[in-house]
């Protein structure tokens, strides 16, 4: 069955780090992100707002093949843990991995849950934040 093989292939990746992506926290990008939220806090001219890291690197790293399952994506939730402030000018390396994969049967059919984790490390080698997210195919 196609659906099962997708689940098996994703499960085979659990714990395996995807290739890292690196990006600089640019003032203009942070400004556009805060404007899109409608958050006019002047603090976001030098520092990144709490959810900005999702804009630095794709949150659903290498999950394209999950699209064989179901017809659409849902975002189930996000959990951020912060260790250091993220400042404009920081060079951030994001490394993601699949943490869990499981299926559930709901009222509208089966759902595929993919839990991913991303670590964000700055130019000094310090972990600034970790993100854990739940993406759902339905």
């Amino acid at each position: 069955m196609v659906a099962n093989s997708v689940v098996e292939r994703l499960r085979a990746r659990i714990g395996v780090a995807a290739p890292s992506t690196e990006a600089t926290v640019e003032a203009g990008h942070v400004k556009r992100f805060a404007e899109a939220i409608g958050d006019a806090n002047p603090r976001w001219t030098t520092e990144a707002p709490p959810t900005f890291l999702v804009a630095l690197a794709p949150v659903s790293l290498h999950l394209a093949e999950a699209e064989e399952y179901g017809k659409g994506w849902l975002n189930g939730g996000n959990r951020f843990e912060y260790f250091e402030p993220v400042k404009v000018g920081d060079r951030i390396t994001a490394t993601g991995r699949v943490a869990e994969v499981y299926e559930k049967t709901g009222s509208s059919g089966s759902l595929l849950f993919i839990i991913f984790e991303t670590d964000y490390v700055n130019q000094d080698g310090r972990t600034v934040a970790k993100l854990r997210g739940t993406m759902i195919r339905r």
């Binding site: 992100f33 939220i37 409608g38 804009a55 994506w73 996000n78 959990r79």
Partner: protein
């Protein structure tokens, strides 16, 4: 100003538009069509375009940082998306203090649709400055 259990955060009411969803899609780099293409959204069983979960998380993040100001540091922030929200309807962000343990404070935050349903629920922990 001391923080105590039961303190409520000042409500933050957003009025998202489809234009704002496009703006957010560009800023985050999430171009999934359910956020700006009505026909695509309806084709996957949605009533129309819907807000990005992470845009709602951004609103709730603003609720917390507006309340916190420079009095402390955000340590964790977690949100679960329980329901969909459509542009053209007000989105009310609310929160309250649920625990105070020394300088560690826990908050409950949520976003309500125009019918008062909590379509996004979450928690935040902050460390207050000594």
């Amino acid at each position: 100003m001391s923080v105590k259990v039961g303190d409520e955060l000042a409500d933050l009411v957003k009025h998202p538009t489809t234009r704002q969803l496009v703006q957010y899609a560009g800023a985050q780099g999430d171009f999934y069509e359910i956020h700006y293409d009505q026909a695509f959204a309806q084709g996957v069983g949605l009533p129309g375009v819907i807000l990005h979960g992470l845009l709602k998380a951004g609103f709730l993040g603003q609720l917390v940082t507006d309340w916190l100001g420079d009095r402390g540091t955000l340590k964790t922030f977690e949100v679960s998306y329980r329901g969909i929200d459509q542009p053209g309807r007000p989105y009310r962000c609310r929160g309250r203090v649920t625990k105070v343990d020394g300088d560690q404070v826990e908050l409950e935050v949520w976003g309500e649709d125009s019918a008062g349903s909590r379509t996004t629920v979450g928690t935040a922990t902050v460390e207050m400055k000594g």
